[in-house]
């Protein structure tokens, strides 16, 4: 015979009293666990939603980046490095450059370590009459393809070099001269193979002929000279033209930089706006999730204490009823030598057992409700993610403690009961 035996036999005898107590603990623990599990599920779902949206945004941005790069390729370079002596008035009026600078400048620029420009393309150009085509007015451009920028990751070139002996033609020119891919023709006394005809661009490119830079320099008798360096401005936020000008001036003081083709910039700005809008949408979604969590949390913040207080009061009343119904038992136990503390222990042990069983069942019920009612689909993975051993331990520790505290006053009444009072009544 042990004290636990006495307690468990009494529990089995007073099943309803014990069951009512357990129900109370189950409700309190269940509400606590369910609410916290719901919040955990909400957080988990928020994480999933934000990850999905961020991934979607990143994918969209990557797609736009690629799109931007493609557009840039189509629209061409957006920076032009010109000799310092070139009159911009003349350039804007005629559309081509008349001054020259050393070809070596492009190598200096490529090796300068500047992060603000890339895709460097040296060129030499002249407006000429094409003698072999009835003096047709064209712009002849000599180009050698891009000069690798040594300090940056290699990029796919925007414009490929033209092989010596080959030419690439603008759309309008090819159409009007009825030149087709693979045709052979002569220019300034040299033989050329038409290797590419560009699509219509609606610019002077449509009447331009591109040939190898060295060959052009030789034809113009301007070896080692170029007119311009076409470049692509790196589209980074805060990377303004004035900054690029300063950067280039440090490397090539005898040059000037102008920006061409504002459509590219507009497009890039549109991309930035789309990115900003996307980020705002993400922030709004996050704020919405936080607001929803706040509402659930606010509801829980008064529901949980109310239920716990109600449960505590209920347990205390049940314990008080139990003490009153066991007055004779307490009297005889005192008569056979039980000390007050032993009587106290009988009631507290029952309360602890009640709290422990209620806490375990309450955790299971609360977790099941929380997991099933949450925003996540209830499967093994969700259960594994939401299971919180810390919360289980907290409930298993706090519920028996609270139950014991609720039973404390009734237990003290039992321990302080005068046995003579009961035994004398008969």
């Amino acid at each position: 015979m042990t004290l636990w035996r006495l307690v468990t036999r009494e529990i089995l005898h007073q099943k309803l009293n014990f069951a009512l107590g357990i129900c109370s603990v189950i409700v309190a623990a269940g509400v606590l666990v369910a609410e916290l599990t719901l919040l955990d599920a909400h957080d988990e779902r928020t994480g999933q939603i934000m990850a999905e949206k961020e991934a979607g945004t990143a994918e969209e941005m990557a797609r736009m980046e690629d799109d931007y790069r493609q557009i840039m390729k189509k629209l061409g370079f957006n920076l032009l490095v010109l000799p310092a002596g070139q009159s911009l008035e003349s350039y804007y009026a005629t559309g081509y450059v008349t001054e020259y600078m050393p070809e070596e400048y492009v190598h200096r620029l490529a090796g300068s370590g500047l992060m603000t420009i890339r895709h460097l393309l040296p060129s030499i150009e002249r407006k000429i009459a094409w003698p072999e085509q009835k003096g047709r007015s064209i712009i002849l451009v000599g180009t050698r393809g891009e000069v690798p920028v040594t300090h940056l990751a290699p990029k796919e070139p925007m414009l490929l070099a033209v092989n010596p002996g080959e030419m690439k033609l603008g759309y309008q020119l090819a159409a009007s001269l009825e030149l087709k891919l693979g045709d052979r023709t002569r220019l300034l006394g040299e033989n050329f193979l038409v290797s590419e005809i560009y699509e219509e661009r609606g610019t002077k490119d449509d009447i331009t002929v591109w040939i190898d830079l060295a060959q052009a320099q030789q034809m113009f008798a301007l070896q080692g000279k170029i007119n311009a360096i076409l470049a692509l401005k790196c589209h980074c936020l805060g990377n303004e033209l004035s900054q690029i000008r300063q950067d280039v001036a440090r490397v090539l003081p005898e040059t000037q930089v102008i920006e061409v083709d504002s459509k590219v910039v507009t497009r890039a700005e549109a991309r930035d706006r789309a990115k900003a809008a996307s980020q705002r949408a993400l922030a709004a979604e996050r704020a919405n999730r936080v607001r929803m969590r706040g509402e659930v949390g606010k509801f829980a913040s008064w529901l949980i204490p109310m239920v716990i207080i109600g449960s505590t009061v209920w347990i205390a009343l049940l314990a008080l009823g139990n003490v009153r119904s066991r007055r004779n038992e307490i009297g005889i136990l005192r008569a056979v030598g039980f000390r007050s503390v032993q009587i106290l222990n009988i009631f507290l042990a029952k309360a602890v057992l009640l709290g422990l069983i209620g806490a375990f069942l309450g955790y299971l019920a609360g977790f099941a409700i929380g997991a099933a009612s949450g925003e996540l689909s209830p499967n093994a993975q969700t259960i594994a993610r939401l299971f919180n051993p810390g919360l289980l331990l907290l409930v298993l520790f706090s519920a028996p403690l609270l139950s014991a505290l609720a039973s404390w006053i009734p237990a003290l009444i039992a321990a302080g009961q005068d046995p003579a009072e009961v035994l004398r009544e008969e």
Binding site: V336, R339, S340, A420, L423
Partner: protein, 221 residues
């Protein structure tokens, strides 16, 4: 063994109304003695018994058991003394309703753990002819059987003093004789019995009978 000296107990029912349950009661009972206190209802019998058992502090006088003044001890010490040396038997039995016969008999062992308690409990159950009822709950027993369970419980810790309050009050004549026979047997084995009752049958078994009238023992000897 048990020395009660000038014991008095007052109850204050309401302001200004004092009931003298016991007044100057003195009683000395030695080992092996079976003393019966007789008296009408309200004469103070139960108060005397509970005070003698250390359960009811008196208003005056002393109660000594084995040479120790019970009410100079702490509550815990008195509880220990009851567990070690005093057995109680009541008219209402006070068996614990959810424990079977064996478990009821064993309840004093919770207050005073004893390795041999289970064996001794079985011996007592056999002695009181309750073996076939060992697993039964009190509600399944006859009144005579219940009182024998109460007696077995009182004897589990091998007390030196047995205090009985109307133990035959709810029993028929046959069962009363059986129970009284056990008390006499306990006294013969060296134990001390103080029984309060108004049953005239107890006189056959007692060594001494004292009359309690309105809280006093007029014929003390």
């Amino acid at each position: 063994m048990l020395r009660i000296t000038d014991l008095s107990k007052k109850y204050i029912k309401s302001p200004g109304t004092v009931i003298h349950a016991l007044e100057g009661v003195s009683l000395n009972i030695g080992p092996g003695e079976f003393v019966v206190v007789q008296g009408h209802s309200g004469s103070g019998k139960t108060t005397l018994l509970l005070s003698a058992g250390g359960l009811l502090p008196p208003s005056g006088g002393t109660v000594e058991f084995g040479g120790r003044d019970l009410y100079k001890m702490s509550q815990a010490q008195r509880a220990r003394l009851r567990a070690e040396g005093i057995g109680f038997v009541f008219q209402q039995f006070y068996l614990i309703s959810y424990l079977n016969v064996l478990e009821n008999v064993l309840t004093p062992s919770l207050a005073l753990p004893d390795q041999q308690a289970r064996t001794h409990a079985r011996e007592l159950i056999e002695h009181f002819k309750l073996t076939d009822r060992i697993g039964h709950l009190p509600a399944e027993l006859s009144t005579g059987e219940r009182q024998r369970v109460g007696l077995a419980r009182a004897l589990l810790n091998r007390p030196r003093l047995l205090l009985a309050d109307e133990p035959t009050g709810n029993l028929d004549q046959d069962n009363s004789r059986i129970v009284l026979g056990y008390f006499a047997e306990f006294a013969r084995s060296g134990g001390t019995v103080l029984m309060v009752t108004h049953s005239p049958a107890a006189a056959e078994y007692a060594h001494r009978i004292v009359q309690l009238k309105q809280g006093k023992l007029p014929d003390q000897n």
